[in-house]
Amino acid sequence: MKGFDTDLEIQKKGYARPEVLVSTEWLADHLDDPTVRVIESNEDLLLYPAGHIPGAVHVDWAHDLNDPVRRDYIQRSGFEALASRIGITPETTCVFYGDRNNWWACYAFWVFQLFGHTRAAVVDGGRIKWEKEGRPMTRDVPKIAPTRYTAPERDDTRIRAFRDEVLEHMRRRLPMIDVRSPQEFTGERTHMPEYPQEGVLRGGHIPGARSVPWARASNPEDGTFRSAAELRAIYEGEVGLTPGDDVVAYCRIGERSSHTWFVLTYLLGYSKVRNYDGSWTEWGNSVGLPIER
């Protein structure tokens, strides 16, 4: 992609695949680039309408990426409709950013990869860094000319893991990363008050999983990703992962773990990382599945 190889701010952090990350400075220089579509994805649905990077479109993780009825992601037709609405073609470089240290940006990035949209990157530091640097924000929603996008069928085989696959993964004692909070990992916290629909009947973690809360991969001051050396110290030094490992990451519903999936896959260059989006809300509610505390 044009410009990515000269993004020195990213290059110096030592990532395995630096082309999937852009700096806020790079983005500021490419706001008018017709080959780039800037996409904001947040937890707080009021953030985008309250102000966003000029030209950015909004992709809502629940409304746009999830099937409205069953627990699953949109199908090919849904992705094509979304792509048309936000005015992208397979040749468009989608640059994602958002709140919460890019948690939702990584989630949207991950769903886009299920449909093979590989021309994609995440803004290092996301919304918080852009705002802290005093860069322009607007409430103007861009007028986007709909495009025609022909997507492949969703490919759930490479980067997505399902319950039975995770069970087999566990039996084979392959590496698993639980990215939830330590309290969720130990089972001290089982369900969130007032949210029985996202609660679980059993607390704990999948046997063999190691706890690495997702946010450890980010610098809390500006939301940027930690350098490759710092990330290796966490995932390899502390947990013992290696780049050739077959790794499954999970959280409660697969959003926080998409952040860790992004880190392991692109920033550290791991060859096989899958996100178990059923995560604890499926595992902790399933009859008979083993649980460790």
């Binding site: 707080d44 649905l45 009021l46 309250a50 409304h63 919304r127 918080i128 969130m192 008050p193 007032e194």
Partner: protein, 155 residues
């Protein structure tokens, strides 16, 4: 569409907002909530100054929301808020909504506001974490009302 909470359990000022949003489109809901957020003003210094006491911090709220109650002569309360995370737009909207609809209302009405009003107002799309934080703000407001009710009974 979110099924609105029974108006009988919600103070009329808040019930009116719930009713309005229950028939609003997604865009109208967003626009309305944004109007509330735009009116947000942090707690005045005569009520609280930084560093804020953790006692006033809303549980579970990652927007770092704080709430205070100031007694009115008639026994009701004025509610004030701070939202320390500048990205906490929903928390700001909710703070204004709570302040404008519950300040000056009878304490038993405040205490009766059910937690599901958060989903009635913000919609079913609100994430677990966000919803939990907004409910935490409501809990804090209700806690202040409960304190006054208990004190009054003991007096």
């Amino acid at each position: 569409m979110t099924e609105p909470t029974s108006p009988a359990r919600v103070p009329p000022t808040l019930a009116e907002v719930v009713q309005r949003l229950s028939i609003a489109s997604r865009e109208e809901r967003t626009e309305t909530l944004l109007e509330y957020a735009d009116r947000f003003e942090s707690v005045p210094p005569e009520v609280a100054t930084r560093p804020f006491s953790e006692r006033h911090r809303a549980p579970y709220c990652e927007s770092e929301a704080y709430a205070w109650a100031v007694d009115r002569p008639d026994g009701t309360l004025d509610f004030h808020f701070a939202v320390e995370n500048p990205q906490g737009i929903s928390a700001m909207a909710w703070a204004v909504l709570l302040s404008e609809t519950l300040s000056g209302r009878p304490l038993d009405e405040v205490l009766a506001v059910p937690p599901e009003v958060v989903r009635n107002i913000f919609g079913n799309e609100v994430s677990m974490g966000k919803g939990l934080g907004l409910m935490g703000m409501l809990d804090l407001v209700k806690h202040e009302a409960r304190l006054r009710i208990v004190r009054a009974r003991r007096a």
